[in-house]
Symmetry: C2
């Protein structure tokens, strides 16, 4: 008859709260998100949230840890284990990954990092160590491999992995800001990859 007003589910709470926080941050950004709102989304009181996360900042850290690293690690695994040509990898798995980032939680994290990063140097360091350096390093290695095997020519392009990441980050930020005039993310990413590969294959100076 009388439904219990709540259930005790200690195990699941942190995960659920973290997911709710991602939603809220996605919608409003970090500073503008009320802890009350996160709690509400998680179907929980504010007090309970503070039992699991000491501060709002802890909550933020938890979101970063939960939603970014697994994705990047997966991609790096593919680079390391597969033996396809560099071009095949760039046009295949890498392009697929790049195209799906703008619609994934990673895009939210990117924005949060840009917004709150300067106030949380330790978080930025963590993000660099576990995500950025790995990602850029992997691309670097891939390009180096291409050059070594004679598939790509050595040039200034083959030494700047950022050229490959650029359109992804740019698209994420552009569309988060100007959602009213969205950019064609897929097209931008594809064009850039095409340009880069064209160059690396020696079709131009």
């Amino acid at each position: 008859m009388n439904q219990p007003r709540y259930q005790r589910r200690k195990e699941d709470r942190p995960e659920e709260i973290t997911a709710a926080a991602l939603e809220a941050f996605a919608k409003n950004g970090y500073a503008a998100t009320r802890v009350d709102e996160v709690a509400k989304r998680a179907g929980v009181s504010k007090g309970l949230l503070y039992l699991y996360f000491k501060t709002k900042e802890e909550l933020f850290k938890s979101v970063v840890r939960s939603f970014v690293m697994p994705r990047i690690d997966t991609l790096i695994k593919i680079i390391e284990t597969s033996d396809m040509s560099s071009e095949k990898f760039l046009r295949g798995p890498f392009l697929d990954f790049a195209r799906q980032v703008p619609g994934s939680p990673i895009s939210v994290i990117v924005r949060l990092m840009v917004a709150e990063g300067p106030k949380h140097p330790d978080l930025v360091q963590f993000y660099w160590d576990n995500v950025v350096s790995h990602g850029l390093g992997a691309i670097n290695e891939l390009l180096w491999h291409g050059v070594q095997s004679g598939e790509f020519q050595r040039s200034t392009v083959s030494e700047q992995p950022a050229l490959f990441v650029m359109p992804v980050i740019f698209s994420v930020i552009f569309n988060l800001l100007f959602s009213k005039q969205p950019i064609d993310t897929d097209r931008l990413i594809e064009t850039q990859i095409d340009l880069l590969i064209s160059h690396l294959k020696g079709h131009t100076t």
Copy 2:
């Protein structure tokens, strides 16, 4: 003997306050900047600030107006009045402009927009109307001109002005976050422009 505690300098106040606001925003971001601090930096009381700017948001708009719009407008003027070839313009004035952005107040504004835009849709709209649409429009026109005159081939590149802006925005954000491992901004921008022009001049598919 008795120095006056302040001088009445109605003419200069708005400009000085705007400059102070830019400094404060650069240091702390929009939300984290206290109006009190801006006033202090400007050597003025908070009350006076509110005589010249109705709200904190007005203050922000004033910063954009003073430090961003003139730069963009100057660049557009050059496009419209000069009759140099599209390539010359891209390799000359445009490249110069792009290279100096990361060290200019514009980079501060970009960061602010990314970080706090979602909470202030009207600010985003203001920025779009007065800066982004003008800038992208100008590049579009330039590319179209190049195509019309036969200087450039028509392609997917000539229809995506964002390709030219991308490295600038990316550099600003990257270096803001990871100032410990800064990226070579000039090199990135130059490489991208080279790639794009190479393509547009028909050296590749």
